[in-house]
């Protein structure tokens, strides 16, 4: 058996950025996953959630929890990422002035995700959207 959850994310809705990660956190605690692993998962998911809010128009998060791992797929409609390699570089950011004023846009999100996940994959089409897949083992 696996647990499946989906969450909607709206672009620009900073007030609710983090809702999905905090719900997933509660599930993982009930499943008694190692607190340190939960922390990594939640940090990665939070960064990914904020990226949709900050950079895309709307998105959907699909969570699959199995007995030894969690798979998180974040699919958004948005501008896409033209050069993924460059986007991954620490400190690189195209965040708008507004987004920076809210305390985001340091260009640390994707590298933080990389550090906190066991597998990470990005595919993107410019002008259409981005799919980020993350897998963590418990």
């Amino acid at each position: 058996m696996i647990i499946e959850q989906t969450y909607q994310v709206r672009g620009g809705d900073f007030a609710h950025a983090g809702d999905a990660s905090s719900k997933v956190k509660k599930l993982l605690k009930q499943l008694d996953v190692d607190p340190r692993k939960i922390k990594s998962i939640v940090i990665a998911l939070y960064e990914a959630e904020v990226n949709i809010v900050a950079h895309a128009w709307e998105g959907i998060i699909r969570i699959l929890i199995d007995r030894d791992h969690i798979r998180m797929v974040l699919e958004d409609k948005g501008p896409g990422i033209a050069d993924i390699e460059q986007a991954m570089v620490e400190g690189y950011s195209t965040a708008s002035r507004e987004v920076r004023e809210m305390g985001f846009g340091a260009g640390m999100g994707l590298s933080n995700i990389k550090r906190n996940t066991d597998q990470m994959e990005i595919t993107s089409r410019v002008g259409e959207g981005t799919v980020l897949t993350m897998v963590n083992y418990f």
Partner: protein, 447 residues
Amino acid sequence: MRVDPAKCIGCTHCMQVCPTEAIRVSNGLAVITGERCVDCGNCMRACPVDAFYIMQDDLSLMQKFKYRVALFPSVMIGQFPEHITDDQIYGALLELGFTHLMEVEQPIHWLVEAYRKYHAENPDIRPLISSFCPAIVRLIQIRYPTLIDHIVMVKAPHDLAAHYALERLKGEGAQEGETGLFYITPCSAKIAAVKRPLGEKESIVDGILNMDEMYNRVMQVISSRPGVGSSGYREYLTREGILWPLPRGEARLFKHKSMAIDGIHNVVKMLERLETENHPELEFLELRSCDQGCAGGILLSGNRFLTVERLERRARTFPHSHEVNPDGPAKADVLEKLVTDPIEPARVFQLDPDRSRAIEKMALVEKILCRLPAIDCAACGAPNCHALAEDIVMGKAKMTDCLFLQAEWQHEGRVTPARGFRNMEKIWGEGRFKADCKKKGARNEGY
């Protein structure tokens, strides 16, 4: 924290304010799950009929000891009406049979030094979280295990004062077993922590006295005694010490790089955030379960804002802590004893120790939630629909406990009305639904 079955009327007030969903109603009585309880006292505050109580020791326990020390926090003084002086309160406590009186926040500078040392020795852990409030430590232990590492492993003022008093009395010639330490506290969580200390073999104090009871006793004898010069009893009391149990009492040590949050529901919001976001710019977080810190302690008699007010004024007349820093051989001994034992995460919310079974149970919770009405009315005896779904999966409740679902099943002929009524009485007590104009509760509870 206990429920008096003679007083409990089986309403839902306590259940709704419990921050860990530790309370259920069964057979018309509130039932507390001990392993989930953090002893914050919210249930006791919310109870319209005073059905919650806290165990305490008998004052007569004192007679066993030659030296009888009353340990009490500064809020003990702060709760009295302004016209009653410190000297009168000290006088009344002596009248009650104590030989030594010690406000616990002394010598607070030792604790300040212990905090600074811990802060310097753990530069990678930010923010540090205060260990002062046992309700919060317990909350972190059961609900926020990822944050356990942030807790400052230094004990609280009452431990400081207890060890210090023992050392001093030993110095004055007290023999082993002659000194009895009695801790007067306004705090249900401190009482629980002293009664069943986490990881320690035995508590250092010999007795716990509830502050509301001591308040009454002091009030009763206060006029029969003129008061004593209290300054001899509190030579190491300082401004910082007096303010310690109040909001920002500890946070002020870390100036603007710190934050103080009081009220357990506010604390929960902060801890939730802290689990997802890093806040390395914050050096120190002071988290207190009660509104206005210990001035809002559950067993405190005075108004919490007036208590803060009185203590702030009182504090201004005392020297700063670094000016009163008694050195000597006792210091090292006491400091050594102020290191907290390691805190282990407690798994009280996990659905099953076996991951596959836990996942099955979680899926079942989701399925049950499809059937429940999402009204969160608590008429099932659980605080909300989700809690009931979990109880059902854990085998502690059944589907028909939801009165709406049961009504639907009666409508469909799957449950007989007689059966349905019995189910309701199982939760709310036999005879509960008979008309009774004298019943307690329900009147002006909303105000």
